[in-house]
């Protein structure tokens, strides 16, 4: 779709964006006119009526019905236009078209999970087909987050224990940043994801590839892939530096200190438990911030991650 792009707005890539931009620019230019009138008035009067010497008596008008009605009525008219236009646009954003592809969005500290209709899921990457309306059914596992894709002009809060809904229809293929817009704590600015808009056929291919879970890859390779796609990378480094969670480097098979003071051998069972119930046995020195991956990761994916973490010891 051809849209004029303005340096102050990100490129428009959804069906509702052009209307929002038109309204944005309408307000911008009407406001600019208003601002210039005020500025011109101030400058002109300062120059013309600058005090030189004694002030003396001044005889200006202190009211003028015609003037006052003018500068009340004109803004009122403009504002009614803007209000109605804005409300219509808002309704378009809130009424989901029939037959939209429904994707479940789960937000939690500090990543996004997207569940597609046929069982494929992805973390921090929302893959959608171009030119099709996509409905997002969203909820949060902890605090309030907000789903924000600037290029689509879409934003909707994501609440715990309640579903909120929004939708969009992408008009151009590409990768668009997705932000969390509601402050959600330490990792708020890291809670970044991307919307990848692809052709319909690529979308189908992506669905297939992701529902069979790493077919054609070894467990280790698949685990390495999951390490980034499932956002382990956000908190667990590979180079030994501690982030929000312990680094994976050289950790498998060692004895680790738990927060209750006891010691424990890091084996496969401990890793599995830590993925599914992270707060059961906390490693010493870390906050209990990791969410459970119960229901997000399938058994094969857990196996793959364990295989990958084990492999890190040999390198």
């Amino acid at each position: 779709m051809d849209t004029v792009s303005f340096p102050w707005l990100p490129s428009a890539a959804s069906t509702t964006a052009a209307d929002v931009d038109a309204l944005f620019n309408f307000i911008l230019f009407a406001g600019l006119a208003f601002f210039l009138i005020v500025t011109a008035g101030v400058i002109a009067f300062v120059l013309r009526h600058r005090r030189r010497g004694k002030a003396g008596l001044t005889y200006g008008k202190d009211h003028s019905l015609a003037l006052e009605i003018t500068w009340t009525v004109i803004p009122v008219i403009l504002i009614v236009i803007v209000f109605v236009w804005g409300f219509k646009g808002y309704m378009r954003m809130n009424v989901v078209p029939h037959g939209a592809l429904e994707i479940k969005v789960t937000a939690q500290k500090w990543f996004w999970t997207f569940d597609h209709p046929d069982g494929a899921n992805a973390v921090n990457e929302l893959v959608v087909p171009v030119g099709k309306p996509v409905k997002l059914l969203m909820s949060s596992a902890d605090v309030i987050h907000s789903f924000f894709v600037p290029n689509f002009r879409v934003k909707m809060d994501v609440l715990p224990n309640r579903y909120t809904v929004t939708w969009f229809e992408a008009t151009a293929e590409g990768v668009y940043p997705l932000y969390c817009a509601e402050y959600c704590g330490k990792g708020h600015s890291e809670m970044l994801a991307a919307v990848r808009v692809v052709s319909d056929s690529s979308y189908q291919a992506w669905l297939n590839a992701n529902s069979v879970m790493g077919a054609g890859l070894t467990l280790e390779q698949y685990g390495a892939q999951l390490y980034t796609t499932k956002a382990c990378v956000t908190c667990h480094s590979l180079d030994g530096t501690a982030k929000d969670g312990p680094s994976f480097k050289g950790r498998f098979g060692t004895e680790i200190l738990l927060s209750d003071g006891s010691r424990l051998l890091m084996d496969e069972n401990y890793m599995r438990e830590s993925i599914l119930d992270p707060r059961a046995k906390m490693a010493n020195g870390f906050q209990p911030v990791m969410p459970t991956f119960q229901g997000i990761l399938k058994d094969r994916q857990i196996d793959a991650l364990i295989a990958y973490i084990k492999s890190l010891n040999q390198k």
């Binding site: 005020v38 004694k54 202190d62 803007v82 409300f87 646009g89 808002y90 309030i144």
Partner: protein, 539 residues
Amino acid sequence: MYTGPENSYLKQPRGLKSWLLTLDHKRIGVMYLTAIMFFFLVGGLLAVLMRVELSSPARDVVSAELYNRLFTLHGAIMIFMFIIPSIPAAIGNFVLPLMIGAKDVAFPRLNLASWYIYVVGSLIAVASILQGGVDTGWTFYTPYSTSTNSAVITLTFGAFVLGFSSIFTGLNFIVTIHKMRAPGMTWFKMPLMVWGLYATAIIQVLATPVLGITLVLLIFERLFGIGIFDPAMGGDPVLYQHFFWFYSHPAVYIMILPGMAIISELIATFSHKRIFGYKAIAFSSLGIALVSFLVWGHHMFTSGQSELAAMIFSFLTFLVGIPSGIKIFNWVATMYRGSISLKTPMLYAIAFLLLFTIGGLTGIFLGTLAVDVHLHDTYFIVAHFHYVMMGGTVMALLGGIHYWWPKMWGKMYNETWGRITAVLVFVGFNVAFFTQFIMGSQGMPRRYYSYPDQFAFLHEVSSVGAYILGFGFLIMVIYLIHSLYRGKPAARNPWGALTMEWEAASPPTTHNFDKDMKLEHGPYDFDRVEVEDEEMVKA
């Protein structure tokens, strides 16, 4: 420090105790001014520290946890300890009784009590730093605020206590304005400053108790898990937002109305002309105050509230914008055919006119439903409220401080440095915050510790603006304090104004006036009362 007449309120009675137990509205005003300027300094330093961190996308100067604590504390200090009490409690306390020809506010003991409550509330709030700070943002949204392990209870309890200080000031002003006016001063002969303070006081009295109860519930939620805001227990976190904004939106007008009030005085005095549309300005203050209670939902257009509610809140939001626009036109029209003097206070008034216009107009973007969806929770919001609060209220406050400085201390500040600083502050402010409008439009979310590289340049420019602004304030502190020691003695009426406070000595005596006051002319009768601008005559 002060070498003026022995019988001024600054000298009589003497001693620290006479200040700490004073019932004199002028001294209480001065004590408030000292306290709020201290917190403005602290809040400002926090802001500069944030801008240092944000000057590049790198996570280098402070940690993410510390950054979150910085912006929470910056917001809480600036809102609850600085801007809400700034004009009413500090400037208003000093000038209100003088302007209406009274000897004091109606309840001087309550007035002193509200200062102590302010100090205690501030100390409690600041004590949260010792417990490791708070990382919720100044809005304390649930369920984040009920689940984080930072010192939320201490800070919210501080804000709760501060609320009482605000309520008592408002109550005191309402009664003072109703009952203490000098004979002859009818409602429409009151200076517009008094109208503005009156409208503000109404909001303070009506809205603050609701914030009080909301914060108490939040504290109980954390302490006892009463479940009212907890979705897991049948409660609703969005309900918290409704209650919070029911106070906090009117609170925005607690912050801006007194700023508008000062601007009316400055524009009239320095244009030396009868103010244009007196009644329109007076009634628009009341109108803004009343409608402000009905617009809170515009903070929640993306929270999943019903479309009907969103439509109503959007409409009412526009409604509250109209009176502000009318005021701007009235002020500009007042300058027409006046005799304009560009003293420092007038420079701040002009800065207000331009910046507040931008602040108000950008509010239209945010009140517009479809556009707000894109801009909500981005830097556009940050820029918008800084243009309104800092470009509006703080510019008015600075104008007011310079305007009443001679009355307050009996000393003149250095006019040249005053003007230079005003320009510096204006430039620095625009560089710091106009960039944020652009970032916000491009989608930069607020409260981000780090950010994608595409925003790096604008963030860097914004940080430079903040440094210029900080530098401007530094100069201001120096020349203002210098004026207390070395400033020229101030005349009784240095600007040639017609409101009553200028009939008192500079600085006033303890009982304000040497005689019982009676209204002899209207506050803006520049077309029939000859009055000299004593500063101009001397120069």
